[in-house]
């Protein structure tokens, strides 16, 4: 049963300052797990993974004065659900100078859900080079995986119902920093 818009519950999961702290923590974890981020490249998945990757790089620079190359990896052409939707516009793919061969690539995305986006990103990576290893950093893990994929760095685990949706807003793309959970839990969407 469709509920009127006004009745839709919307809950703030992360406020702007929460979000900044979470990004700081992931930046520290990356430094820790990669022994100072040597030979590491951050690749954001458009749209919101790209500013997140840039923020992580900026924080890593602020903490340890290390410059981590940042790029973007569009996965649209590798999606497995292209035929289920109207044609999607492509995002930008920009690899940092020096490419990704032999480096540790950390994929950055806003929400980890079914895992299909990450699967597509792994396929796309395969066509642009051969990284020595691939890791995954996400701002929010909302569960409901459909593929055997897990994240190495998670900002926040949010238990959700399938009918709910997680909305990440970032200043660069949406004008403010916030993460919302919308939709009635248990109710039919």
């Amino acid at each position: 049963m469709a509920s009127p818009r006004a009745d839709t519950t919307s809950k703030i999961i992360l406020s702007g300052s929460d979000l900044h702290r979470v990004v700081d923590r992931i930046a520290h974890q990356i430094l820790e797990k990669t022994s100072g981020a040597t030979g590491t490249v951050l690749l954001g998945i458009p749209t919101r993974g790209v500013p997140l990757a840039q923020r992580l790089a900026a924080r890593i620079h602020a903490f340890e004065d290390i410059d981590v190359p940042v790029g973007s990896l569009d996965i649209t052409l590798y999606r497995d659900d292209l035929r289920l939707h109207a044609t999607r516009a492509l995002g930008k793919t920009e690899l940092p100078g020096g490419g990704i061969d032999g480096r540790r690539v950390i994929l950055v995305d806003d929400v980890l859900f079914s895992g299909r986006t990450v699967r597509a990103a792994l396929d796309a990576l395969n066509d642009v080079g051969r990284p020595s290893s691939v890791q995954l950093a996400v701002l929010v893990d909302r569960g409901h995986r459909q593929l055997p994929i897990r994240a190495d760095y998670v900002g926040k685990n949010i238990p959700t119902a399938l009918s709910e949706s997680v909305r990440v807003s970032l200043t660069e793309t949406d004008g403010l920093d916030e993460v919302n959970l919308t939709g009635a839990p248990g109710g039919e969407a």
């Binding site: 590798y78 035929r83 930008k92 793919t93 395969n126 066509d127 642009v128």
Partner: protein
């Protein structure tokens, strides 16, 4: 997204811009070691060519293959067409084989429109008679945008045999949609009366190339269709070349930033001299490379989503 690309008039400004933006991403992918993308896996693209063509057919084939589509090449020579099979029967055969897209080149204007009513897949016009060649216009617009940074407000001269040129017609339509100002230049016998009214009212016409050049951002030279020479549209090849050919002296009249385009195949020494064709202002080779990117964009946008 539209289903067919039969005419440049099928495209509004937003759709045309989306195709050019997509082409830019496709061009970026062309620099990679692995150029193949899995996007159109399992889709079938038929190249149905009733007229000879080198670059357009190869370009469409390369574009479809880079997107992993299965490509079937059909040329009228050596097929049942030479046994008298009609376009409709050929279309029904393709339909039965399950073609997701048919790329058609035909000597009859309007053949793609008829074909679209017989097949379920998308129809892409790769040149029909003296009517249209929309993907050429897209790759030309893409080339202008990547060289000059914009299309809105650009001044473009299309020079030569406008009467028989499908490239000219598609370019007038698309460039006007995207905000460029087109001037058609050529001998009066080769510029149809009332073409501006018929195609796009903003279009200007001039019979004097020299007076037009200083004001242009782009000069697009059309091929003189030598197969039509016996029809006396102009007195001699030499006279045509003197009045409407682009040589170094004429090229110097262009502003510093202006570019010279030609859809190919060229008659060197006729509408364009070799020095101009090989100069740094010429985008002729670039146009061929951009053709693959533009056609990948069209195939992706027509076939990539839900049918």
């Amino acid at each position: 997204m539209i289903k067919h690309l039969r005419s440049a008039a099928d495209l509004d400004a937003a759709t045309a811009t989306l195709i050019l933006d997509t082409a830019a991403e496709m061009a970026a992918l062309a620099g990679r070691e692995v150029k193949k993308l899995p996007t159109l896996r399992g889709r079938t693209v038929v190249n149905l060519f009733y007229e000879d063509s080198t670059r357009t057919r190869i370009s469409f084939e390369a574009a479809a293959k880079r997107l992993s589509a299965d490509v079937i090449n059909f040329s009228a020579k050596g097929s049942s067409v030479s046994k008298g099979e009609s376009l409709k029967d050929t279309a029904l055969t393709l339909q039965a084989m399950g073609a997701d897209a048919v790329v058609i080149r035909h000597s009859a204007s309007g053949a793609p429109h008829r074909l679209a009513s017989w097949v379920d897949g998308s129809v892409i016009n790769a040149g029909d008679g003296t009517h249209e060649h929309p993907t050429q216009a897209l790759l030309d617009a893409y080339t202008m945008r990547s060289r000059l940074g914009r299309l809105d407000g650009l001044k473009v001269a299309i020079v030569g045999d406008v009467l028989h040129s499908r490239v000219a017609r598609s370019n007038v339509l698309l460039l006007s949609t995207l905000g460029a100002q087109v001037t058609l230049v050529g001998p009066p016998t080769l510029i149809p009366v009332d073409i501006a009214a018929a195609l796009e009212p903003k279009t200007k016409v001039s019979y004097d190339l020299d007076s037009v050049l200083p004001d242009m951002d782009v000069v697009m030279m059309l091929r003189v269709q030598t197969e039509r020479m016996q029809d006396s549209y102009f007195p001699s090849a030499r006279e045509y070349s003197r009045r409407y050919g682009l040589d170094l002296a004429r090229m110097r009249k262009l502003p510093e930033h202006a570019i010279v385009m030609h859809p190919g195949p060229m008659n060197r020494g006729m509408e364009i001299t070799p020095e101009v064709a090989d100069s740094s202002r010429s985008t002729i080779v670039e146009q061929v490379a951009n053709g693959v990117s533009a056609r990948m964009a069209v195939l992706y946008l027509l076939l990539g989503g839900k049918a």
